[in-house]
Symmetry: C2
Subunit: 193 residues, 2 copies
Amino acid sequence: MPRAGLSRERLIEAAIALTEADGFVALNLAALARGFGVKLASLYAHVRNVDDLKAEVALNALRRLADMVDEAIAGRAGRDALYAYAEAQRDFALVHPGLFEAARHPLSEEIAMQSAGVRIARASRAVFRSYALDDADQVHATRLLGSFLLGFVLLERSGSFAHSAPEAADSWARGLESLHMAISGWAEKDSKQ
Amino acid sequence: MPRAGLSRERLIEAAIALTEADGFVALNLAALARGFGVKLASLYAHVRNVDDLKAEVALNALRRLADMVDEAIAGRAGRDALYAYAEAQRDFALVHPGLFEAARHPLSEEIAMQSAGVRIARASRAVFRSYALDDADQVHATRLLGSFLLGFVLLERSGSFAHSAPEAADSWARGLESLHMAISGWAEKDSKQ
DNA sequence: GCAAAAAACTAAGTGTATTAGGATAAAAAC
DNA sequence: GTTTTTATCCTAATACACTTAGTTTTTTGC
Protein backbone atom coordinates (compact mmCIF):
# COMPACT_ATOMS: atom_id res chain seq x y z
CA MET A 1 0.00 0.00 0.00
CA PRO A 2 1.25 3.48 -0.81
CA ARG A 3 1.82 5.90 2.03
CA ALA A 4 -0.55 8.62 3.08
CA GLY A 5 2.23 11.19 3.27
CA LEU A 6 1.51 12.44 6.73
CA SER A 7 3.54 15.10 8.44
CA ARG A 8 3.06 17.29 11.47
CA GLU A 9 2.24 20.21 9.22
CA ARG A 10 -0.39 18.36 7.22
CA LEU A 11 -1.96 17.07 10.42
CA ILE A 12 -2.20 20.53 11.88
CA GLU A 13 -3.60 21.83 8.64
CA ALA A 14 -6.26 19.12 8.60
CA ALA A 15 -6.99 19.73 12.27
CA ILE A 16 -7.62 23.38 11.51
CA ALA A 17 -9.93 22.48 8.64
CA LEU A 18 -11.82 20.07 10.88
CA THR A 19 -12.09 22.74 13.57
CA GLU A 20 -13.47 25.24 11.09
CA ALA A 21 -15.95 22.73 9.75
CA ASP A 22 -17.23 21.05 12.89
CA GLY A 23 -15.99 23.13 15.82
CA PHE A 24 -13.08 22.75 18.19
CA VAL A 25 -14.96 20.22 20.34
CA ALA A 26 -15.23 17.91 17.34
CA LEU A 27 -11.47 17.88 16.87
CA ASN A 28 -10.03 14.48 17.74
CA LEU A 29 -7.33 12.17 16.49
CA ALA A 30 -9.69 9.41 15.41
CA ALA A 31 -11.59 11.71 13.04
CA LEU A 32 -8.32 13.02 11.70
CA ALA A 33 -7.00 9.51 11.06
CA ARG A 34 -10.20 8.61 9.22
CA GLY A 35 -9.78 11.67 7.06
CA PHE A 36 -6.34 10.51 6.00
CA GLY A 37 -7.43 6.89 5.60
CA VAL A 38 -4.88 5.90 8.17
CA LYS A 39 -4.91 4.05 11.47
CA LEU A 40 -5.26 6.13 14.59
CA ALA A 41 -1.99 5.00 16.11
CA SER A 42 -0.10 6.17 13.05
CA LEU A 43 -0.65 9.78 13.97
CA TYR A 44 1.57 9.41 17.01
CA ALA A 45 4.64 9.50 14.82
CA HIS A 46 3.90 13.15 14.09
CA VAL A 47 2.03 14.39 17.14
CA ARG A 48 2.74 13.80 20.82
CA ASN A 49 -0.92 13.46 21.80
CA VAL A 50 -4.30 15.13 21.35
CA ASP A 51 -3.45 18.10 23.44
CA ASP A 52 -0.30 18.74 21.46
CA LEU A 53 -2.49 19.00 18.38
CA LYS A 54 -5.12 21.12 20.09
CA ALA A 55 -2.49 23.51 21.37
CA GLU A 56 -1.14 23.83 17.84
CA VAL A 57 -4.60 24.66 16.50
CA ALA A 58 -5.09 27.14 19.32
CA LEU A 59 -1.80 28.87 18.50
CA ASN A 60 -2.76 29.07 14.86
CA ALA A 61 -6.16 30.52 15.71
CA LEU A 62 -4.52 33.16 17.90
CA ARG A 63 -2.14 34.01 15.09
CA ARG A 64 -4.96 34.49 12.61
CA LEU A 65 -6.95 36.58 15.04
CA ALA A 66 -3.88 38.70 15.81
CA ASP A 67 -3.29 39.22 12.11
CA MET A 68 -6.83 40.43 11.60
CA VAL A 69 -6.62 42.74 14.58
CA ASP A 70 -3.26 44.18 13.61
CA GLU A 71 -4.40 44.86 10.11
CA ALA A 72 -7.66 46.39 11.30
CA ILE A 73 -6.09 48.96 13.58
CA ALA A 74 -3.15 49.82 11.33
CA GLY A 75 -3.15 53.55 10.62
CA ARG A 76 -6.08 54.26 12.92
CA ALA A 77 -6.31 56.03 16.25
CA GLY A 78 -8.86 56.90 18.91
CA ARG A 79 -12.46 55.90 18.40
CA ASP A 80 -11.70 54.66 14.92
CA ALA A 81 -9.06 52.28 16.20
CA LEU A 82 -11.24 51.01 19.03
CA TYR A 83 -14.06 50.18 16.66
CA ALA A 84 -11.72 48.53 14.19
CA TYR A 85 -10.21 46.43 16.97
CA ALA A 86 -13.54 45.37 18.37
CA GLU A 87 -15.19 44.65 15.03
CA ALA A 88 -12.22 42.59 13.92
CA GLN A 89 -12.58 40.32 16.92
CA ARG A 90 -16.33 39.98 16.64
CA ASP A 91 -16.10 39.32 12.91
CA PHE A 92 -13.51 36.66 13.51
CA ALA A 93 -15.72 34.97 16.07
CA LEU A 94 -18.73 35.02 13.77
CA VAL A 95 -16.89 33.93 10.62
CA HIS A 96 -14.65 31.33 12.30
CA PRO A 97 -16.55 30.11 15.35
CA GLY A 98 -14.45 26.98 15.62
CA LEU A 99 -11.18 28.87 15.58
CA PHE A 100 -12.57 31.33 18.07
CA GLU A 101 -13.25 28.47 20.47
CA ALA A 102 -9.77 27.16 19.77
CA ALA A 103 -8.24 30.52 20.59
CA ARG A 104 -9.69 30.19 24.09
CA HIS A 105 -8.08 26.81 24.66
CA PRO A 106 -5.96 27.04 27.81
CA LEU A 107 -2.25 27.02 27.09
CA SER A 108 0.68 26.53 29.40
CA GLU A 109 2.33 29.59 30.88
CA GLU A 110 5.40 29.68 28.67
CA ILE A 111 3.57 28.79 25.49
CA ALA A 112 0.94 31.46 26.09
CA MET A 113 3.62 34.06 26.69
CA GLN A 114 5.11 33.43 23.26
CA SER A 115 1.80 33.08 21.47
CA ALA A 116 0.09 35.64 19.26
CA GLY A 117 -2.16 36.30 22.24
CA VAL A 118 0.31 38.86 23.50
CA ARG A 119 0.18 40.54 20.10
CA ILE A 120 -3.58 40.94 20.51
CA ALA A 121 -3.10 42.45 23.96
CA ARG A 122 -0.38 44.71 22.59
CA ALA A 123 -2.72 45.90 19.85
CA SER A 124 -5.31 46.84 22.44
CA ARG A 125 -2.75 48.79 24.42
CA ALA A 126 -1.72 50.58 21.26
CA VAL A 127 -5.34 51.57 20.69
CA PHE A 128 -5.52 53.10 24.13
CA ARG A 129 -2.17 54.77 23.87
CA SER A 130 -3.84 56.74 21.11
CA TYR A 131 -6.45 57.75 23.69
CA ALA A 132 -3.59 59.38 25.61
CA LEU A 133 -3.96 57.06 28.58
CA ASP A 134 -1.11 56.39 30.96
CA ASP A 135 0.28 52.86 31.27
CA ALA A 136 -1.96 51.66 34.07
CA ASP A 137 -5.07 52.99 32.39
CA GLN A 138 -4.10 51.35 29.12
CA VAL A 139 -4.19 48.06 30.97
CA HIS A 140 -7.49 48.84 32.66
CA ALA A 141 -9.01 49.86 29.35
CA THR A 142 -7.68 46.74 27.65
CA ARG A 143 -9.27 44.58 30.30
CA LEU A 144 -12.53 46.47 30.17
CA LEU A 145 -12.82 46.25 26.42
CA GLY A 146 -11.49 42.69 26.30
CA SER A 147 -14.01 41.53 28.88
CA PHE A 148 -16.88 43.15 27.03
CA LEU A 149 -15.77 41.69 23.71
CA LEU A 150 -15.36 38.17 24.97
CA GLY A 151 -18.53 38.16 27.02
CA PHE A 152 -20.63 39.70 24.30
CA VAL A 153 -19.49 37.27 21.64
CA LEU A 154 -20.03 34.28 23.92
CA LEU A 155 -23.50 35.38 24.94
CA GLU A 156 -24.43 36.28 21.40
CA ARG A 157 -23.24 32.93 20.06
CA SER A 158 -24.99 31.01 22.82
CA GLY A 159 -28.27 32.59 21.84
CA SER A 160 -28.72 34.58 25.02
CA PHE A 161 -29.61 37.70 23.06
CA ALA A 162 -31.94 36.00 20.64
CA HIS A 163 -35.13 36.35 22.63
CA SER A 164 -35.34 39.94 23.74
CA ALA A 165 -36.62 42.78 21.66
CA PRO A 166 -33.67 44.94 20.50
CA GLU A 167 -31.26 43.37 18.03
CA ALA A 168 -27.97 42.13 19.41
CA ALA A 169 -26.23 44.36 16.87
CA ASP A 170 -27.84 47.42 18.46
CA SER A 171 -26.60 46.45 21.89
CA TRP A 172 -23.17 45.92 20.41
CA ALA A 173 -23.08 49.42 18.95
CA ARG A 174 -24.46 50.85 22.17
CA GLY A 175 -21.88 49.05 24.29
CA LEU A 176 -18.96 50.04 22.13
CA GLU A 177 -19.99 53.66 22.06
CA SER A 178 -20.40 53.70 25.82
CA LEU A 179 -16.98 52.20 26.35
CA HIS A 180 -15.48 54.70 23.96
CA MET A 181 -17.04 57.61 25.79
CA ALA A 182 -16.15 56.28 29.21
CA ILE A 183 -12.53 55.58 28.37
CA SER A 184 -12.18 58.89 26.54
CA GLY A 185 -13.02 60.51 29.83
CA TRP A 186 -10.04 58.87 31.49
CA ALA A 187 -7.62 60.80 29.31
CA GLU A 188 -8.19 64.15 31.00
CA LYS A 189 -7.29 62.88 34.43
CA ASP A 190 -4.26 61.11 32.99
CA SER A 191 -2.92 64.21 31.27
CA LYS A 192 -3.20 66.20 34.50
CA GLN A 193 -0.44 64.33 36.27
CA MET B 1 -25.59 -7.47 49.24
CA PRO B 2 -27.32 -4.42 50.67
CA ARG B 3 -28.38 -1.68 48.27
CA ALA B 4 -26.64 1.58 47.79
CA GLY B 5 -29.85 3.54 48.01
CA LEU B 6 -29.48 5.52 44.83
CA SER B 7 -32.06 7.95 43.59
CA ARG B 8 -32.16 10.70 41.04
CA GLU B 9 -31.93 13.27 43.82
CA ARG B 10 -28.93 11.68 45.49
CA LEU B 11 -27.18 11.36 42.14
CA ILE B 12 -27.72 15.01 41.34
CA GLU B 13 -26.56 15.96 44.80
CA ALA B 14 -23.37 13.93 44.39
CA ALA B 15 -22.87 15.34 40.92
CA ILE B 16 -23.01 18.84 42.34
CA ALA B 17 -20.51 17.95 45.04
CA LEU B 18 -18.20 16.46 42.43
CA THR B 19 -18.55 19.56 40.29
CA GLU B 20 -17.69 21.79 43.21
CA ALA B 21 -14.70 19.67 44.13
CA ASP B 22 -13.15 18.91 40.76
CA GLY B 23 -14.87 21.17 38.24
CA PHE B 24 -17.67 20.63 35.77
CA VAL B 25 -15.36 19.01 33.24
CA ALA B 26 -14.54 16.29 35.77
CA LEU B 27 -18.20 15.39 36.13
CA ASN B 28 -18.91 11.97 34.61
CA LEU B 29 -21.00 8.95 35.37
CA ALA B 30 -18.08 6.62 35.98
CA ALA B 31 -16.67 8.79 38.76
CA LEU B 32 -20.11 9.11 40.26
CA ALA B 33 -20.65 5.33 40.22
CA ARG B 34 -17.28 4.83 41.93
CA GLY B 35 -18.30 7.28 44.61
CA PHE B 36 -21.39 5.23 45.38
CA GLY B 37 -19.55 1.92 45.14
CA VAL B 38 -21.89 0.89 42.37
CA LYS B 39 -21.52 -0.26 38.79
CA LEU B 40 -21.67 2.37 36.09
CA ALA B 41 -24.66 0.84 34.35
CA SER B 42 -26.70 1.01 37.54
CA LEU B 43 -26.94 4.76 37.27
CA TYR B 44 -29.09 4.49 34.19
CA ALA B 45 -32.07 3.51 36.31
CA HIS B 46 -32.10 7.05 37.70
CA VAL B 47 -30.63 9.20 34.97
CA ARG B 48 -31.28 9.16 31.23
CA ASN B 49 -27.64 9.80 30.29
CA VAL B 50 -24.69 12.03 31.10
CA ASP B 51 -26.21 15.07 29.56
CA ASP B 52 -29.38 14.66 31.55
CA LEU B 53 -27.25 14.82 34.68
CA LYS B 54 -25.15 17.72 33.43
CA ALA B 55 -28.26 19.70 32.58
CA GLU B 56 -29.57 19.06 36.07
CA VAL B 57 -26.34 20.34 37.61
CA ALA B 58 -26.44 23.35 35.31
CA LEU B 59 -29.99 24.16 36.38
CA ASN B 60 -29.03 23.87 40.01
CA ALA B 61 -26.04 26.14 39.51
CA LEU B 62 -28.24 28.73 37.82
CA ARG B 63 -30.69 28.53 40.70
CA ARG B 64 -28.00 29.13 43.28
CA LEU B 65 -26.55 32.00 41.31
CA ALA B 66 -29.99 33.52 40.88
CA ASP B 67 -30.62 33.21 44.61
CA MET B 68 -27.41 35.04 45.42
CA VAL B 69 -28.15 37.76 42.90
CA ASP B 70 -31.73 38.25 44.06
CA GLU B 71 -30.68 38.50 47.64
CA ALA B 72 -27.84 40.86 46.81
CA ILE B 73 -29.97 43.43 45.02
CA ALA B 74 -32.96 43.23 47.34
CA GLY B 75 -33.74 46.66 48.71
CA ARG B 76 -31.07 48.40 46.66
CA ALA B 77 -31.29 50.76 43.72
CA GLY B 78 -29.03 52.60 41.30
CA ARG B 79 -25.29 52.33 41.69
CA ASP B 80 -25.73 50.35 44.87
CA ALA B 81 -27.82 47.73 43.12
CA LEU B 82 -25.48 47.51 40.16
CA TYR B 83 -22.48 46.85 42.38
CA ALA B 84 -24.36 44.31 44.45
CA TYR B 85 -25.47 42.50 41.30
CA ALA B 86 -22.00 42.45 39.80
CA GLU B 87 -20.19 41.48 42.98
CA ALA B 88 -22.64 38.68 43.63
CA GLN B 89 -21.86 37.14 40.27
CA ARG B 90 -18.11 37.54 40.56
CA ASP B 91 -18.13 36.18 44.10
CA PHE B 92 -20.12 33.19 42.97
CA ALA B 93 -17.63 32.52 40.18
CA LEU B 94 -14.66 32.76 42.52
CA VAL B 95 -16.17 30.74 45.37
CA HIS B 96 -17.85 28.09 43.20
CA PRO B 97 -15.78 27.90 40.00
CA GLY B 98 -17.18 24.49 39.12
CA LEU B 99 -20.78 25.61 39.43
CA PHE B 100 -19.98 28.74 37.48
CA GLU B 101 -18.77 26.57 34.61
CA ALA B 102 -21.88 24.45 34.98
CA ALA B 103 -24.09 27.51 34.76
CA ARG B 104 -22.68 28.13 31.29
CA HIS B 105 -23.55 24.66 30.06
CA PRO B 106 -25.73 25.00 26.96
CA LEU B 107 -29.35 24.07 27.60
CA SER B 108 -32.15 23.42 25.18
CA GLU B 109 -34.43 26.27 24.26
CA GLU B 110 -37.43 25.30 26.41
CA ILE B 111 -35.36 24.23 29.38
CA ALA B 112 -33.38 27.47 29.35
CA MET B 113 -36.56 29.50 29.20
CA GLN B 114 -37.81 27.95 32.43
CA SER B 115 -34.45 27.98 34.18
CA ALA B 116 -33.30 30.39 36.85
CA GLY B 117 -31.29 32.05 34.09
CA VAL B 118 -34.28 34.21 33.28
CA ARG B 119 -34.43 35.24 36.94
CA ILE B 120 -30.86 36.48 36.67
CA ALA B 121 -31.72 38.46 33.57
CA ARG B 122 -34.83 39.82 35.28
CA ALA B 123 -32.74 40.93 38.23
CA SER B 124 -30.46 42.87 35.91
CA ARG B 125 -33.42 44.57 34.28
CA ALA B 126 -34.73 45.49 37.70
CA VAL B 127 -31.39 47.10 38.50
CA PHE B 128 -31.60 49.24 35.41
CA ARG B 129 -35.22 50.10 35.91
CA SER B 130 -33.96 51.82 39.02
CA TYR B 131 -31.67 53.82 36.71
CA ALA B 132 -34.85 55.14 35.08
CA LEU B 133 -34.07 53.54 31.74
CA ASP B 134 -36.75 52.71 29.22
CA ASP B 135 -37.36 49.09 28.23
CA ALA B 136 -34.98 48.93 25.31
CA ASP B 137 -32.19 50.56 27.27
CA GLN B 138 -32.73 48.17 30.15
CA VAL B 139 -31.98 45.37 27.73
CA HIS B 140 -28.95 47.14 26.28
CA ALA B 141 -27.61 47.82 29.75
CA THR B 142 -28.23 44.23 30.81
CA ARG B 143 -26.27 42.98 27.83
CA LEU B 144 -23.46 45.46 28.38
CA LEU B 145 -23.07 44.62 32.04
CA GLY B 146 -23.59 40.90 31.46
CA SER B 147 -20.95 40.80 28.76
CA PHE B 148 -18.45 42.62 30.94
CA LEU B 149 -19.16 40.38 33.91
CA LEU B 150 -18.84 37.14 32.02
CA GLY B 151 -15.78 38.18 30.05
CA PHE B 152 -14.01 39.59 33.06
CA VAL B 153 -14.54 36.54 35.19
CA LEU B 154 -13.43 34.19 32.42
CA LEU B 155 -10.31 36.17 31.68
CA GLU B 156 -9.50 36.58 35.35
CA ARG B 157 -9.93 32.87 36.02
CA SER B 158 -7.88 31.88 32.99
CA GLY B 159 -4.99 33.93 34.31
CA SER B 160 -5.03 36.51 31.55
CA PHE B 161 -4.79 39.34 34.07
CA ALA B 162 -2.12 37.76 36.21
CA HIS B 163 0.88 39.12 34.37
CA SER B 164 0.31 42.82 33.93
CA ALA B 165 1.00 45.44 36.55
CA PRO B 166 -2.29 46.67 38.02
CA GLU B 167 -4.27 44.20 40.10
CA ALA B 168 -7.25 42.57 38.46
CA ALA B 169 -9.38 43.89 41.32
CA ASP B 170 -8.47 47.46 40.37
CA SER B 171 -9.55 46.89 36.80
CA TRP B 172 -12.76 45.37 38.08
CA ALA B 173 -13.56 48.45 40.15
CA ARG B 174 -12.59 50.69 37.28
CA GLY B 175 -14.75 48.82 34.83
CA LEU B 176 -17.78 48.77 37.07
CA GLU B 177 -17.52 52.44 37.83
CA SER B 178 -17.20 53.25 34.14
CA LEU B 179 -20.25 51.20 33.28
CA HIS B 180 -22.20 52.84 36.08
CA MET B 181 -21.33 56.31 34.84
CA ALA B 182 -21.99 55.47 31.22
CA ILE B 183 -25.35 53.87 31.85
CA SER B 184 -26.36 56.64 34.24
CA GLY B 185 -25.95 58.98 31.32
CA TRP B 186 -28.55 57.09 29.32
CA ALA B 187 -31.28 58.03 31.76
CA GLU B 188 -31.48 61.68 30.75
CA LYS B 189 -32.15 60.90 27.15
CA ASP B 190 -34.73 58.29 28.15
CA SER B 191 -36.66 60.65 30.40
CA LYS B 192 -36.91 63.23 27.62
CA GLN B 193 -39.25 61.15 25.51
C1' DG C 1 21.35 -3.31 -4.19
C1' DC C 2 21.70 -2.65 0.88
C1' DA C 3 21.50 -0.52 5.21
C1' DA C 4 19.35 2.94 7.95
C1' DA C 5 15.59 5.81 8.95
C1' DA C 6 11.02 6.86 8.98
C1' DA C 7 6.13 5.68 8.12
C1' DA C 8 2.44 3.15 8.98
C1' DC C 9 0.43 -1.11 11.03
C1' DT C 10 -1.09 -4.64 14.45
C1' DA C 11 -2.01 -5.65 19.06
C1' DA C 12 -3.23 -4.62 23.57
C1' DG C 13 -4.74 -1.85 27.43
C1' DT C 14 -7.37 2.16 29.56
C1' DG C 15 -11.36 5.06 30.26
C1' DT C 16 -16.15 6.73 29.44
C1' DA C 17 -20.90 6.07 27.67
C1' DT C 18 -24.74 3.26 26.51
C1' DT C 19 -28.10 -0.69 25.83
C1' DA C 20 -30.11 -5.25 26.84
C1' DG C 21 -31.37 -8.66 29.72
C1' DG C 22 -31.06 -11.17 34.14
C1' DA C 23 -30.92 -11.69 39.30
C1' DT C 24 -32.61 -10.21 43.63
C1' DA C 25 -33.63 -7.26 47.42
C1' DA C 26 -37.25 -4.50 49.00
C1' DA C 27 -41.91 -3.04 48.94
C1' DA C 28 -46.73 -3.84 48.18
C1' DA C 29 -50.71 -6.73 48.04
C1' DC C 30 -53.18 -10.22 49.72
C1' DG D 1 -46.69 -13.91 56.80
C1' DT D 2 -46.53 -15.40 52.46
C1' DT D 3 -46.75 -14.15 47.70
C1' DT D 4 -46.43 -11.09 44.04
C1' DT D 5 -44.62 -7.29 42.01
C1' DT D 6 -41.57 -3.62 41.40
C1' DA D 7 -37.52 -1.45 41.06
C1' DT D 8 -32.62 -1.74 42.02
C1' DC D 9 -28.50 -3.25 40.84
C1' DC D 10 -25.64 -6.46 38.21
C1' DT D 11 -23.33 -8.86 34.21
C1' DA D 12 -22.30 -8.76 29.54
C1' DA D 13 -21.53 -6.66 25.29
C1' DT D 14 -20.82 -2.71 22.07
C1' DA D 15 -19.01 1.64 20.67
C1' DC D 16 -15.56 5.28 20.64
C1' DA D 17 -11.45 7.85 21.84
C1' DC D 18 -6.63 7.87 23.58
C1' DT D 19 -2.17 5.83 24.26
C1' DT D 20 2.02 2.66 24.25
C1' DA D 21 4.86 -1.11 22.49
C1' DG D 22 6.53 -3.71 19.14
C1' DT D 23 6.57 -5.06 14.12
C1' DT D 24 6.39 -4.67 9.15
C1' DT D 25 7.31 -2.02 5.13
C1' DT D 26 8.34 1.73 2.35
C1' DT D 27 11.78 5.36 1.39
C1' DT D 28 15.96 7.24 1.13
C1' DG D 29 20.90 7.65 1.22
C1' DC D 30 25.05 5.48 0.39
